[in-house]
Amino acid sequence: MRKEIPLAIMLVTGVFMAVQFFVPHEIPSLIYTNLNKTVQVVGAVALVLGIVSILSIHLAKIGKKQPGFGYSYFLIVFFVLMASSGFLPKSLNLGSFLGHGGNEEGSFFLNMYNYVLNPVQSTMFALLAFFIASAAYRAFRARSIIATLLLLTAIIVMLGRVPIGPAIFGDWIAELADWIMAVPNAGAKRAIIVGVGMGILSLSLKMVLGIERAWLGGGR
């Protein structure tokens, strides 16, 4: 029963959602448009499970004094600070530097977002530039025809899309880059899309019919 009922739910909801596409009547439409709310609520509740997981792991690390447990203190402290600050009453004033309660402009919660979360996220995004250079450097060791093809195309598109390319090589490189993007790139992209579409369709069908049960755990 522990697997049969979820599989039955999967079958019913899967078939319903597939068939409702063809049924313009109001009732299936209503169920479909309200389904998102259910998914959102389940996802939000699942976050609680996730938070319990983080806290239990780091508390266990601190309790057993495992290597790096000091950093776990910071993680938990900042989590508690951030989570609790969002629920503080707006009237509570923590000073001009920290801000007030609530989660609006000038609040401690939003200040933490603006001065901690936001800059670090932007920095991590920017770090991608270093890593892309590192990856490109490794890719320069092209050892096969297909790797060479990938590398050459990347160089042409890179140079064709910035002013320095045409300045050094002439306008043809920009035109070639545009042609590559518009023609061979578009063609092969469609092949990938079709393949992925077939794969997803097959996987979805297997899930609805209960053939694919990996998500249930325990295999067959």
């Binding site: 009547h25 991590m124 890593f131 890719a139 079709v194 990996a214 249930l216």
Partner: protein
């Protein structure tokens, strides 16, 4: 002389009167108004069609638009329920209409000076919701779905009776090698299910592969670390890994702390996984699922940590990063086929065959369409075929 002056005065008067009367003449009404329930909809809508007013094109005070009017009977007051621009010969009335209620309609043609004229009453029309969409596009989609589902189901059934061949894929063969390498080196295996949520196909594919990988890891007595981005994915991964250890006959070896939730934010998650890679130094990294900008950084950090990396995603840009940075990459559909390859279950292999049949149909229809486009002006059959394929 006096008579001449009087005649001129009278003519001028008539001319002025005539032009004044012309400016105030309301536009001619629309004709042939019909009202029908909108087909293939959820109801509460009626399609109106008419022959446009001939005064749309007149030089003075032309028709600038139409107003749709509705009433519950032909002699009760009509109220406005919609508008249409000049040039339209049809519109859908929907505001305030209810299903299974009869309505009567009129269309009012109006000019810039607010003069108007109304058509004859059309109706009764009763909006109702339909239970099946009969538009050609929907019929084609239904036919396509039945066909593809039929292909897959037929081949799943066939696979149960005879062995079906599928070609080897390098990335999938490398999975076993990667797990073996980790066992020999005594280092853990890191498995990343991507940043998609549990309902996304790529993540479901990741669960399938995770189950197979976890079972092998349990058999080889290695360690598997699964940091999760989405909380629902985390719940499912716990079940998948625990179940795999059960299937391998080693439930006691399952460590629930090795499958954990990190955070539901892209870059903090990336920072945490990078930290795990550099500290735990896994022998093999798996990146299977839906990835975004963090894919390259994860792969590069994994390279720095000295790990063998096997990736699979259906995101085009991330595929290119994985191809450059990882040792093996499952491109697009190969990721979805991986589960079948690893399990070798007949139903799974049969489904791949069904997908291949679908691709044959796709290629055939495309070729047929290309030939039709080439010959459409030469042979009428191909012109018709092209119209059908392009839904013109």
């Amino acid at each position: 002389m006096r008579k001449l002056f009087l005649a001129a005065l009278l003519s001028t008067f008539f001319l002025i009167s005539f032009s004044f009367v012309s400016a105030q003449t309301p536009p001619a009404p629309v004709t042939n108004l019909t009202a029908k329930d909108t087909p293939s909809d959820k109801g509460a809508q009626v399609d109106l069609s008419w022959t446009a007013s001939p005064d749309e094109q007149r030089a003075e005070n032309p028709v600038i638009g139409y107003q749709l009017l509705v009433a519950l009977s032909s002699d009760s007051p009509f109220v406005a329920v919609g508008k249409a621009d000049a040039g339209a010969s049809g519109a859908t009335a929907k505001d305030g209409l209810k299903n299974d209620q009869s309505y009567y309609f009129k269309v009012r043609a109006y000019a810039a000076d607010s003069s108007f004229s109304e058509s004859e009453v059309a109706g009764p029309a009763t909006p109702t919701g339909q239970w099946w969409n009969t538009q050609p596009n929907y019929i084609w989609i239904f036919v396509g779905m039945v066909m593809l589902v039929g292909f897959i189901l037929y081949n799943i059934r066939k696979a149960g009776k005879e062995e079906l061949y599928i070609r080897p894929i390098a990335g999938i063969n490398a999975i076993d090698e990667g797990i073996g390498r980790a066992t020999e080196m005594g280092k853990p295996i890191l498995y990343i299910c991507g940043l998609g949520d549990a309902a996304q196909a790529a993540t479901i594919a990741a669960f399938s592969v995770l189950g197979r990988v976890a079972q092998k890891v349990a058999q080889y007595q290695s360690r598997l670390i699964v940091p999760c981005y989405d909380p629902i994915v985390f719940s499912i991964c716990q079940d998948v890994v625990k179940g795999a250890y059960l299937n391998a006959g080693r439930p006691e070896a399952y460590n629930e702390k090795d499958v954990f939730f990190v955070t539901q934010d892209q870059f903090p998650y990336m920072a945490a996984v990078n930290g795990i890679m550099l500290r735990e130094k896994p022998a093999t990294n798996f990146y299977i699922g839906q990835f975004y900008a963090e894919s390259l950084m994860l792969a590069e950090t994994g390279f720095q940590a000295g790990s063998i990396q096997i990736a699979g995603t259906d995101q085009l840009i991330q595929m290119s990063f994985f191809i450059v940075a990882c040792d093996f990459t499952l491109i697009g559909e190969e990721m979805y086929a991986a589960s079948a390859y690893l399990s070798k279950e007949p139903e799974q292999i049969g489904s791949i065959k069904g997908q291949d049949w679908g691709k044959v149909v796709f290629a055939s229809l495309s070729l047929l369409g290309v030939v039709s486009a080439l010959l459409e002006h030469k042979i009428g059959f191909f012109e018709m075929l092209k119209k059908v394929l392009l839904a013109e």
